[in-house]
């Protein structure tokens, strides 16, 4: 990220949103809203005093709600740029008009409560969409007790807890601060389940294995259980990693967990969370008492994927992720020329696959730039001026405003660069004066004749 920011050919716009896109390949106009962060990016030195002095707190989104952050904050330590933002919903100045502690302590005078949102418009030739994914919210699967039991964590929460800069400074601990002696990791939470997402999220098996390795490192005598349907260790070196985890003494139980409960039936279940499952390898129901449960939550399309798809005229596949042009032959392009997709917005994938797809998208864009010219659709429409009666029927129909009226000649005129060749005007022209190249009326009629013999 830092090297992207320092590259002179890249303008990084953080805390900004695309609000409108128009134009076509080679000639897009993109309108971007720059949200006010209430801190002057040019003046701020990133010293962090404001965050120390700010008296107001909120749940830390980056730590999956486990820790706290201030009302003025940088989302995470390595954030680029290292400039904080003020959360209007928490900041006392915005709520009640007083405090301004950050302003008082800021030596650089960077705090600016008067900032407003700004709109910028940029001309671009192509667009790469990499909007990523949302993490599945496990609280909708009520039997797993996420949100109900203190010691049921989502995958992301466990990841933050095990991180040295996380809310517990890397200490694995239960809600009461004690160390867990046994942990169950439940696979496929929200994935491979027709009630939630039918697809496999592709990353959970491997991060679950990584979790057990981390637990083994931090708490060597912990009992670790992995409850899986299948282990999909498909990538380079993944199977080897699985073998290594098996050697580390993790208990692998084949069977999707049915329920997590705190209703003890025996004395040694007392005070524990009990994971109920069917172990399909021994063909028996099991009750596994543990201190901590980690849910390997899956990946899902971002909540706003529908709006994004509309804005960039993308299609979405049945699972809600953006649809590539061709599943095998063109997995980075989309149906809209000049718009490419990479990463989890196209479907769940791990880091190597994301990097590969992103590089491919970048290469496609670069090859267009180095050519300097784009080939536009050959299948466009033209008006036969001899036949056009000047009725103007086509004018309103064109979705792209490609048709104008030549008052002098009293005929319609189609702009070749704007026309995308949908043929709506061809079909509507009462005098048959518009020719849809590659799909002329004669061609289609001949096809009709042909298919009916």
């Amino acid at each position: 990220m830092a090297s992207v920011r320092s590259d002179e050919n890249i303008e990084l716009m953080t805390y900004s949103e695309v609000v409108d896109v128009s134009g076509y390949v080679g000639n897009f106009k993109v309108k971007i809203r720059k949200n006010p962060r209430y801190v002057d990016e040019d003046k701020c030195t990133g010293c962090g005093v404001c965050q120390e002095k700010c008296p107001f707190k909120a749940d830390n989104e980056f730590d999956a709600g486990m820790g706290q952050r201030k009302a003025i904050y940088t989302p995470f330590p390595q954030a680029v740029p290292n400039v904080p933002v003020i959360d209007r919903d928490v900041c006392a100045y915005f709520l009640k008009g007083k405090c301004q502690a950050c302003e008082k302590f800021c030596e650089a005078n960077a705090i600016d409560f008067e900032q407003t949102e700004k709109f910028v418009e940029v001309d671009v030739g192509s667009i790469i969409i990499t909007t990523g994914f949302d993490s599945f919210d496990p609280s909708v699967i009520a039997p797993y007790g996420y949100g109900r039991y203190d010691n049921v964590y989502s995958g992301l929460q466990f990841e933050r807890m095990s991180n040295a800069s996380g809310p517990t400074d890397g200490k694995l601990q239960l809600k009461d601060g004690s160390q867990p002696k046994s942990v169950a990791i439940l696979h496929c939470v929200g994935s491979r389940d027709i009630n939630y997402h039918e697809y496999c999220s592709r990353v959970c098996c491997m991060y679950s294995l990584k979790f057990s390795h981390i637990i083994g490192e931090k708490i060597p005598d912990a009992e670790i259980y992995q409850l899986y349907i299948d282990l999909r260790c498909f990538g380079k070196g993944y199977e080897e990693f699985y073998n290594r985890i098996q050697e580390e003494g993790v208990n692998f139980v084949r069977g999707r967990a049915a329920e997590v409960t705190d209703l003890a039936e025996t004395a040694d279940e007392e005070g524990k969370l009990i994971v109920l499952c069917e172990d399909t390898l021994i063909g028996r129901q099991r009750r596994i008492p543990v201190d901590m449960v980690v849910l390997s939550t899956g990946l899902e399309p971002r909540a706003d994927a529908g709006e994004t798809a509309k804005m960039f005229s993308l299609s979405r596949s049945a699972d809600g992720f953006f649809l590539e042009k061709h599943p095998k032959l063109d997995p980075v392009a989309t149906m809209t020329d000049g718009v490419f997709i990479a990463g989890c917005c196209q479907g769940p994938k791990d880091i190597p696959d994301t990097v590969a797809q992103a590089s491919a998208a970048a290469a496609r864009v670069l090859s267009m730039i180095s050519k300097g010219k784009v080939e536009i659709e050959a299948a466009i429409s033209v008006v036969d001026e001899e036949i056009c009666s000047g009725c103007k029927t086509c004018l309103d129909l064109c979705p792209y405003g490609a048709i104008t009226f030549d008052e002098e000649k009293s005929v319609a005129f189609i702009n070749e660069a704007l026309c995308k060749g949908c043929g709506t005007c061809v079909a509507a022209c009462p005098s048959g004066a518009i020719i849809g190249k590659h799909f002329t009326t004669e061609q289609i009629l001949a096809q009709i004749e042909g298919v009916l013999v």
Partner: protein, 140 residues
């Protein structure tokens, strides 16, 4: 004689044609009765193409486009919807019958919907019998 209807399908390049492609790549079978003609958008289909298909001996015409709001060209499918709706009373009046013309929205991801639609429309046309304009089957 077993009646095998001939149906002309106008499929939009971006959704239904891609959906049919997907049905193909996922090895789904469907009845050979629908013969697909690719158009860039269902908005390209007008009354004259549909009538021509009937005149040339089609027993049914299936127009498939993107779901409303999903048209690759924003609103071509709305034109198609208007035209199909306007043409149906005419088909009824001239004795062809409005059931022989059907409009369906199939998106590129709805591979399974293509065989389903083809199957249900084919069996519907089978029930209706040959088109009155179709000389091949009624011996005239």
């Amino acid at each position: 004689m077993n009646f095998e209807p001939k149906i002309v399908g106008f499929f939009c390049n971006w959704c239904s044609y891609a959906g049919a492609d997907l049905a193909g790549t996922s090895r789904k079978k469907y009845a050979p009765n629908v013969r697909i003609i690719r158009v860039m958008c269902s908005g390209r289909v007008n009354e004259s193409l549909i009538l021509k298909a009937f005149a040339a001996g089609a027993d049914g015409v299936l127009v498939c486009g993107c779901h409303p709001g999903d048209c690759h060209y924003l609103k071509g499918n709305l034109s198609a919807r208007r035209r199909v709706a306007g043409l149906k009373p005419l088909l009824e009046a001239v004795g062809i019958g409005n059931d022989r013309l059907r409009l369906e929205w199939i998106s590129a991801s709805e591979g399974p919907k293509v065989p389903e639609t083809v199957k249900s429309f084919t069996s519907e046309i089978k029930q209706l019998g040959p088109s009155p304009l179709n000389g091949r089957h009624n011996g005239s």
